[in-house]
């Protein structure tokens, strides 16, 4: 249908996650319409992000220049507690709570043999090396509450507990501000399991 540069752009956009052929076509035509400087800003942003950002050598979060990310370089952070997550995006989610002041460790995924992901493909060895270096006393495993995430959490707990690290898992339960009647049985069941005494 389309040829040359337009075809190439649609194909490239279509390879992005969450973008199907129709979205790719719509975005490509949008780019075709916008002023040249806007298009340049977009392409520059893509080039710059690839040139200037790296993965933190300690926790594998996204780092901007330098070997360490902003969180690992921050002296105010509690070095004794780490939060183990699957993906750098999860750090953003935990950071938004403003309730965690330790550091992170990004595994880069979850155990998923079907997709060929085992401990070797995750940053597990690097996590153990950080534990070996001392200091870390507690690990909070914040993997996703699905089958693969739960398996990964258990795997991490079984590795770290013998090393004297306190390992905990995020609680599952009801969304704040939600309605009980809309909760699915599984979530409600978990919430019942994890109920807490009301302090009076």
């Amino acid at each position: 249908m389309y040829t040359g540069p337009l075809r190439a752009l649609i194909d490239e956009l279509g390879r992005l996650p969450g973008i199907g052929p129709k979205s790719a076509q719509r975005i490509a035509f949008h780019i075709l319409k916008v002023p040249t400087e806007d298009a340049h800003r977009l392409s520059d942003a893509i080039v710059v992000v690839k040139e200037r950002t790296t993965l933190c050598e300690q926790c594998f979060n996204v780092a901007e220049g330098g070997a360490w990310c902003a969180i690992c370089s921050d002296d105010q952070r509690d070095g004794e507690v780490i939060c183990v997550v699957e993906d750098p995006r999860d750090i953003v989610a935990v950071e938004r709570t403003n309730q965690f002041h330790g550091r992170y460790h990004v595994l880069g995924g979850a155990l998923n043999p079907l997709e060929g992901i085992g401990p070797d493909q995750l940053k597990v060895r690097e996590l153990l090396a950080r534990i070996d270096a001392g200091q870390i006393r507690e690990a909070i495993v914040c993997t996703n509450p699905n089958l693969e995430g739960e398996a990964t959490a258990m795997y991490v707990a079984r590795l770290l507990t013998p090393l004297g690290v306190i390992v905990s898992r995020l609680a599952s339960g009801l969304p704040v501000g939600g309605d009980l009647e809309y909760a699915d049985e599984l979530t409600l069941g978990r919430a019942l399991e994890g109920r807490r005494r009301i302090e009076v």
């Binding site: 155990l111 085992g118 401990p119 089958l147 693969e148 795997y155 079984r158």
Partner: protein, 355 residues
């Protein structure tokens, strides 16, 4: 219900009566069973004929779509399924993607009777396990969930076993430990749910068989759940680990269990006549249907595929008498036995024409 590129239908529209019996008539090979297959697919995520996905898609097309509007106790539900043999098939309920047994069965509750049901009795254990797990979808959310989870863990574990290539490294051992623990936990939940279900079914299946077979309760139906391992599942998994690694498959677990069915103390699979087996298969389906009706507010739609062709008129009438009111859809290529009241007859040709 609307069909697009499903089996022989390029486009089809099917509107059965909400209450009472709708009969789909037509010669062989015109798509009567496919209509039921499409409805049942919405409720179970697979073909009740055991057909692979690609055979449900019209030749030359890359995907099939089934769309149905259901009333579900005045709770209007839009269920849409896209069947893509080469890619990811998915089902949406009210435009939200769902996949678990429970979610599918509550959105499109149905009970299917078909000549293939004979295989539940005469075939391997898989058909019997599927029957139990599908029923859990109606009755036991925790058990149904466990069935889905066990299936996924088994797939992950099998992939890990294959990848290890029989080599036992520290990584393989430590990750297998994790999957074994999860499999043992969900597996026990599933097995206990199946065992409970088998006990609950006994009081419905036996009497139903007696009435169908006209044997005045002489035929005693026995049902037992048979675990494929002894003692504790986790211990069994660990005991069979070297075997699993060598063969690259899951050799123990709920996916190897069976439900033993007996008529007068003899195993139905090997000892019963074909007539007895057919009767028992019907009794099982009726038992499930009645158990669901007695325990929940769900009224599954009855789908009867060509069942009368296999039964004598007396048994056909006994079957229909067993079926409670509600919506039922049946297909037939032969005239209906006497004494069966019908609300609506749809010749299959009417479906194909609609666009």
């Amino acid at each position: 219900m609307e069909l697009v590129n499903f089996r022989i239908f390029g486009a089809g529209l099917f509107s059965p009566e909400a209450e009472g019996t709708t009969v789909v008539t037509g010669p062989n090979g015109t798509g009567k069973t496919s209509v039921l297959e499409a409805l049942a697919y919405l409720g179970t995520g697979r073909s009740f004929r055991g057909a692979p996905r690609e055979s449900m898609v019209r030749t030359g097309e890359d995907r099939a779509i089934i769309r149905a509007e259901l009333d579900n106790n005045d709770n209007p539900t839009l269920v849409e399924a896209e069947i893509v043999p080469a890619g990811r098939s998915r089902t949406q309920v009210n435009r939200k993607v769902v996949q678990g047994r429970k979610e599918l069965s509550t959105a499109t509750p149905c009970t299917i009777f078909s000549p293939e049901d004979l295989v539940i009795i005469s075939g391997g254990p898989r058909g019997r396990r599927d029957l139990l797990d599908d029923t859990l979808g109606f009755l036991d959310p925790e058990g149904a969930r466990a069935a889905d989870v066990v299936e996924r863990i088994q797939r992950q574990r099998a992939a890990l076993l294959r990848q290890s290539g029989g080599k036992v490294t520290a990584d393989v051992v430590s990750t297998l430990d994790v999957w074994d623990h999860r499999l043992a936990a969900s597996g026990m939940t599933l097995v206990k749910a199946r065992e409970r279900l088998v006990r609950d079914l006994v009081e419905f299946v036996g009497p139903a068989y007696g009435r169908l077979a006209g044997s005045e309760g002489r035929a005693l139906v026995g049902q037992h759940y048979v675990r494929s391992w002894d003692d504790d599942l986790l211990t069994a998994l660990q005991a069979h680990r070297s075997d699993d690694l060598r063969r690259g498959v899951n050799t123990v677990g709920p996916h190897r269990d069976d439900m033993l069915l007996e008529i007068e103390g003899r195993e139905a699979r090997t000892h019963a006549s074909q007539g007895e087996q057919r009767c028992l298969a019907l009794a099982l389906r009726i038992g499930v249907h009645q158990l669901v009706l007695s325990r929940t507010s769900v009224i599954p739609t009855l789908l009867l595929d060509d069942v009368f062709s296999e039964l004598d008129p007396a048994r056909s009438r006994a079957l229909v008498a067993e079926l409670p009111p509600g919506q039922s859809i049946l297909t037939t290529a032969v005239p209906l036995p006497e004494g069966i009241s019908v609300a609506h007859i749809i010749p299959i040709g009417q479906l194909v024409r609609a666009s």
